[in-house]
């Protein structure tokens, strides 16, 4: 028994993937606590979890691709509304609806990717903002959704309840889905970052001419970054629809994309944990604390101020701040020790 532990488990615990697994386990535990926690805190954690997924995809695009795309909202919308449309109106099973959403996401992100080749840097943010507006307009104009801005409800008088692999899903079991997707999502992004693909993306970001000399095909990698980010966003949308059971087009517009940007920038664009921290600060605190005490406006001000301060003084994000604080504390402690105990 001990041998097994030393041989297999201990080395695994040293890897960062272990931390990701712990996150998943925590989320599953959360599911079990659904009756204990107040509903808005429960909701805040779950929402933060799938927004984190969208943030991960976006961070890959921004931090490693160097592409500032404001289209995240569009993909969340595609995920949520495709799921609803295919499941409810086309009466297809759930898995098919999810796959349809992902395929649509891939197609749209490839379109975004091709657009990004012609347009660079700052213009890209504007154009992706526009593209995401177009997607929102399209959703809004589809006849089934044309009743204003609200999307459909998955609860209420429904044709069929949600079923997956024969199990009936209620809103709370969406957490399990979220847990699985979040863990897998974290692992994939982490693996990509520490692989040749991640390095290739970084080299394109730094200098696309040098990257081409080294044999890196710009189109291929740009498209890849966009597709990953689009799929992640769509998954977040799907999860949100599974959990919240309704969707509102206005929730996923520019403000949402800006909030995701804020979360990623504040937390630290390059680190998987940093993004989690950022998402928690932006979305989690907002939902769990500020909305509760009706301080919505304060949360906006703090979020915006945080973005500005972090970008001005700590471009590495709060994660970098934590690292610096940790080092500072260690230094201070050793100083104090020297003061009390002297040197040999």
């Amino acid at each position: 028994m001990k041998l097994y532990y030393l041989e297999k488990i201990k080395p695994f615990m040293k890897k960062p993937h272990f931390g990701f697994l712990i996150v998943g386990v925590l989320l599953v535990i959360l599911r079990l606590l659904v009756n204990v926690l107040p509903p808005d805190i429960y909701g805040a954690i779950v929402t933060t979890a799938y927004y984190y997924l969208a943030g991960l995809g976006f961070a890959l695009l921004l931090g490693y691709g160097g592409l500032a795309s404001l289209g995240t909202g569009a993909f969340v919308g595609i995920g949520a509304f495709t799921l609803h449309f295919v499941f409810r109106y086309l009466a297809m099973p759930l898995t098919l609806a999810i796959i349809a959403g992902i395929i649509l996401a891939i197609l749209v992100s490839i379109a975004f990717g091709f657009v990004s080749l012609r347009i660079s840097g700052m213009y890209l943010a504007i154009v992706t903002m526009g593209l995401s507006q177009i997607v929102i307009e399209v959703i809004r104009n589809i006849p089934q959704y044309a009743s204003g801005t609200t999307g459909g409800f998955l609860s209420g008088p429904m044709a069929r309840p949600l079923e997956f692999l024969g199990m009936r899903l209620n809103s709370n079991s969406a957490v399990l889905f979220t847990a699985v997707f979040v863990v897998i999502g974290m692992m994939i992004v982490h693996n990509l970052i520490h692989s040749s693909t991640g390095r290739a993306l970084l080299s394109i970001k730094n200098s696309d001419t040098a990257a081409q000399t080294m044999g890196i095909n710009l189109l291929k990698y740009r498209l890849f970054a966009f597709v990953i980010s689009g799929v992640y966003g769509t998954l977040a949308g799907i999860l949100s629809m599974l959990f919240v059971r309704n969707g509102n087009v206005s929730q996923i517009g520019i403000t949402f994309a800006l909030n995701i940007l804020a979360a990623v920038v504040i937390g630290g664009t390059k680190s998987v944990w940093g993004i989690m921290l950022g998402t928690f600060v932006i979305f989690g605190l907002d939902l769990a604390v500020f909305q509760r005490f009706n301080l919505g406006n304060y949360s906006l001000i703090i979020n915006g101020a945080l973005i500005i301060l972090v970008v001005m003084f700590y471009p590495g994000g709060l994660i970098q701040l934590f690292g610096d604080v940790k080092r500072f504390m260690i230094k201070q402690i050793s100083k104090v020790k020297a003061h009390i105990y002297g040197t040999e």
Binding site: E137, N297, N303, G304
Partner: protein, 314 residues
């Protein structure tokens, strides 16, 4: 309705939207050219001024019973002072933004500056209800409630005044840019900030003034626009700002006038597309199609319709 009247009404409505759009667009262009920042907070700067104006107008008279503002405009002076105050507020805010934030930011490449402006959007969105109260909409006041008839088309006097006002302002700015020392300074900083600084131009003053002026333009745009549509909320200027960005990339950032051309094309499109699509009952898609066409145009000419491409030396 004959063909000529149709064309005329299209042109007039295009001019009307252009009057609001041009001011906002120019503010964006000014900041972009001088400090290489895409200012996402342009609209918010403007609405800040508009709120100030509206607040000051309303303060002039409050109904005792309901506590709600109720003012009747009897003389122009009631309007002018609050308007100027609103413009001043945005002017100062723009100035502060540059001097307090951008000057002290440690790592300012274009992307970080962009992100800072996004942060500003969020901050101001939260700040406005705190300063001006929780009321979601505030009715702003137009220059005049009258309309005049021109060749059988109703033109509100307010829009007419706005159009004349913005034309005058833009022409003045263009003349200043071309023929004054300040204008030369702005154009040099726009071309290459570092070298301009080395040539003795006070780049920080130029930058501060550009932000301040952009703020003022935004305020004017917001004030006139909210007056025209008769309501105001925190997100009113968002659509104008998005359109201003579109206009800028359509026209191309490489000149000061290109984005204005883009703004006119966009306004024209906003007038034409619905008229065309209404025959197929697709009027709701006119916005979408307009945006799609702009993006297609930008894909074909990435530097903008009136822009020039800059090649980087490796």
């Amino acid at each position: 309705m004959n063909f000529a009247t149709d064309i005329l009404s299209i042109i007039i409505s295009a001019l009307i939207s252009f009057s609001f759009l041009s001011l906002a667009t120019f503010g964006i262009v000014l900041i972009f050219k001088t400090s290489s920042t895409t200012n996402f907070a342009q609209g918010m700067l403007g609405i800040l001024g508009a709120y100030t104006t509206s607040y000051l107008i309303d303060k002039q008279g409050v109904v005792d019973v309901t506590g709600l503002p109720s003012v009747t405009i009897t003389s122009p002076t009631q309007l002018i002072l609050p308007i100027l105050a609103g413009i001043l507020v945005s002017f100062i805010t723009g100035f502060l933004i540059n001097n307090v934030i951008f000057k002290h930011a440690k790592f300012t490449n274009a992307a970080t500056k962009q992100i800072i402006t996004m942060g500003l959007v969020i901050v101001i969105t939260g700040l406005i209800p705190l300063i001006f109260g929780q009321t979601v909409t505030r009715v702003s006041f137009p220059f005049s409630q009258q309309t005049i008839m021109f060749q059988g088309i109703a033109v509100p006097v307010h829009q007419l005044i706005t159009l004349i006002l913005s034309t005058i302002i833009l022409l003045t700015i263009f003349i200043l840019l071309k023929y004054t020392k300040w204008g030369l300074g702005v154009r040099s900083v726009a071309s290459n900030e570092r070298v301009a600084g080395m040539m003795g131009i006070n780049t920080s003053v130029i930058n501060s003034m550009s932000w301040a002026i952009a703020g003022a333009l935004g305020a004017l745009s917001a004030i006139t626009y909210t007056a025209a549509i008769g309501s105001m909320s925190v997100v009113t200027m968002t659509s104008i700002q998005i359109n201003a960005f579109y206009a800028s990339i359509l026209g191309g950032f490489s000149s000061f006038g290109g984005p204005l051309g883009g703004a006119f094309l966009l306004s024209a499109g906003q007038a034409i597309f619905p008229k065309l699509l209404v025959t197929w009952n697709l009027a709701a898609w006119s916005n979408t199609l307009l945006y799609v066409s702009i993006i297609l145009a930008v894909l074909i000419k990435p530097a903008g319709l009136f822009g020039k491409k800059i090649v980087k030396k490796v």
